[in-house]
Subunit: 422 residues, 2 copies
């Protein structure tokens, strides 16, 4: 008998029929003797519907008072879906009860719309589990020390589930979603992409931050910090498949580097189409260039990803960085009207037609030459590398977006990811 | 400066546009210097939508576990509308905050789906009002002593508003709704019906229990018990009408019997089409007949309204009562299969085509002959009275439903209700 946390996304909770399937699946686990905690998201579309109503009443504001009300509003989506799931579980003959974040309680700071979990009191939930109940807990939300409702931000239900699993020392946290695991790369780009049976949480962190939308990055950080075994698996398999088979499906995110994991140097190829490149050319090469260019950008709340400063020639340097597409025009304007005149730079040029491709692998730590293999492969395909950025377990390059598919496929093959896993 | 409670029904909160109008109206009152507490219902249709989802997942059950989840689910409707109203008030430039029932807290017993308010702690709300905030409080819901969410049953937002007004000793509780007050009778039946400027809470109680849907009966009981001045008025007047005019509009429900009120012997004609009559004929006239007939009916959760037992003839009595239309067939079956054989009664007959017409007036206490005037008027119209039931301030008759409009119009005229109020 194990203590298991299940988390179901909004699509899995999208209709009474789907909620009934979730209940049947949970019932299967409960009947196998496991203690079950279930964390559902709001029914798909519900959070957008609620925030849309708020948007009709008032433009988005950053005041704490306004954001407090947004949390009050958005938290109702998960409260409703949790009660519905408890009802469906009761209809399956189980003893089930649902709790909101404040009832558990899940204590957070007061950063409305993006609160962080501070502590979880599991006494009440543990007593219910001991009494044979299945416990449903609203994802996405908590309560601050003054008794206000807070939410954890988009995708926060993943984080809730992992945090609850951590607080209760659950044996495993299963994240049921609309994909059946983590892949070596996007199967829509490389049909030969295959599902990873295991991935380290550090690799998962890099993949999540590089645009893989499987898991919310904060939930992965949480899982790593508290060493919660976490599995991503499909909620669209029939609910009545064999439990042992289901328990081994999907991708396990582990915090242990076992021998098997060491074998693969590169675990996956991640990519991101959502960035644009900006270069400030001919900057007088004096100390503090980076700060004088990026300071105003940061002040305007524009997030910067890859940053490159080249070698100075004739006392002039070129400085490049990438931003999200949505911030591209604003960043360009800001640099042209404010930074360039003050800095005495030559000009600002931009390119929204770029993409970022990354190889990720915990094995890169102990294997030399992985990055150079990447550069060789791209060179053989005549793909020009515009920027390079590296970390301990990742190498990213910025290239022309038209080469994205070609680059990803070539790298997938070169790093032996097309072959079936051993 | 006064402390004022506003309550807005689901229709008044039915769309962002209408919520904005509510906010503008509340802002007018706040800017006039009043301390404002606002209690909104869920947006119209929302509670039905939520309970419909529950119904798709499981048949209605009477277990406490199931009903607890229904409350958890239904309470989200008011939480969402309260947050939306707070946002709309902020957009009007007011400092506004919303609270759920558990945040206030509004403490109730644990009778899920029909909980009763036990106490309201107004400390938090009072501090906010003193700080210049408009406070929005979810109607319809509270928290029991174990921290479970409870709801007060359909129409419970009226009761919440009055209970909050009572706890805070508010100067007046204004119930904004889709009618513009309490009428001498339904204007759709009697075009000459006119709005009452004041009505005693006892008369209002009778009218509410007699099928007038203007106010939830429990809210009127509450207002009477705690002597809360309560006004029913329209939320469809333009929000920017003069405040003094608005403050005198609608119908004031008072607990003081002033001289003016004494003038009208009958304040209104109420009626109810929703009942059916059942008669058990030829019952052996032994002690305990009423109990032996109505005991099984009550056990089957069938509510009984008017009850008549006639004089015994030849050791046999006839026993008649009315039930809701929705319980009619069930009651008839129960009596035929169980009660009649056990009791040795002759037969059971029923008539679903009846209606109940009542004259209501606090002046009836001190005026004799009011009931006989009613009987005379009906007799002159050749309307046969099937049952009669009286209380201190009300006389009801059961008649064939085809005479409903005729009876109501004749009584409205006979008791001088067609004339303009003095």
């Amino acid at each position: 008998m194990a203590l298991i946390v299940h988390k179901y996304g909004g699509t899995s909770m999208g209709s009474p029929e789907r909620i009934r399937n979730v209940a049947k699946r949970v019932a299967k686990w409960a009947r196998a003797g496991h203690q079950m905690v279930v964390v559902p998201s709001a029914m798909s579309g519900e959070t957008n519907r609620l925030l849309g109503l708020a948007g009709e009443l008032a433009p988005a504001k950053s005041t704490a008072e306004y954001q407090r009300e947004l949390d009050m509003l958005a938290a109702t989506g998960e409260q409703a879906s949790s009660a519905l799931l408890a009802i469906a579980l009761q209809a399956e003959g189980l003893d089930a009860i649902s709790y909101t974040g404040w009832q558990v309680p899940v204590r957070t700071d007061s950063s409305y719309t993006k609160a962080r979990i501070e502590s979880i009191d599991d006494q009440r939930v543990r007593a219910d589990l001991a009494g044979g109940k299945v416990v449903v807990i609203t994802g996405f939300q908590g309560i601050d020390e003054d008794g206000h409702i807070t939410t954890l931000g988009r995708g926060g239900s993943d984080t809730s589930a992992v945090a609850i699993a951590a607080a209760m020392k659950a044996d495993e946290c299963l994240i049921y979603t609309d994909v059946d695991g983590v892949y070596t790369t996007d199967p829509r780009v490389v049909p030969a992409a295959r599902r990873l049976h295991t991935v380290s949480f550090e690799e998962m962190l890099e993949m999540a931050s590089l645009g893989s939308k499987v898991l919310q990055i904060r939930s992965v950080e949480f899982a790593g910090k508290y060493k919660v075994p976490m599995r991503v698996l499909s909620s669209f398999t029939p609910w009545d498949i064999d439990l042992a088979e289901e328990a081994q499906s999907g991708t396990l995110i582990t915090f242990e580097e076992d021998e098997k994991m060491e074998k693969a140097v590169v675990s996956g190829i991640a990519f991101n189409r959502g960035e644009a490149k900006i270069s400030v050319l001919g900057v007088p090469d004096t100390p503090g260039i980076a700060y004088r260019i990026l300071g105003p950008v940061a002040e305007a709340n524009i997030e910067v990803d890859v940053i490159i400063q080249n070698i100075s020639k004739d006392g002039k340097a070129d400085f490049s960085f990438t931003v999200n597409h949505s911030d591209y025009n604003r960043a360009l304007d800001l640099l042209r009207t404010k930074v360039v005149p003050e800095l005495g730079a030559q000009e600002v040029v931009g390119d929204p037609h770029i993409c970022k491709v990354s190889i990720v692998g915990i094995g890169m730590r102990s294997h030399v030459g992985v990055a150079s293999t990447m550069f060789r492969v791209l060179s053989q395909e005549n793909i020009n590398i515009q920027m390079i950025s590296t970390s301990e377990i990742k190498t990213s390059v910025v290239i022309d977006e038209k080469y994205l598919e070609l680059a990803v496929r070539a790298l997938h093959t070169a790093f032996d990811l097309d072959k079936p896993a051993e």
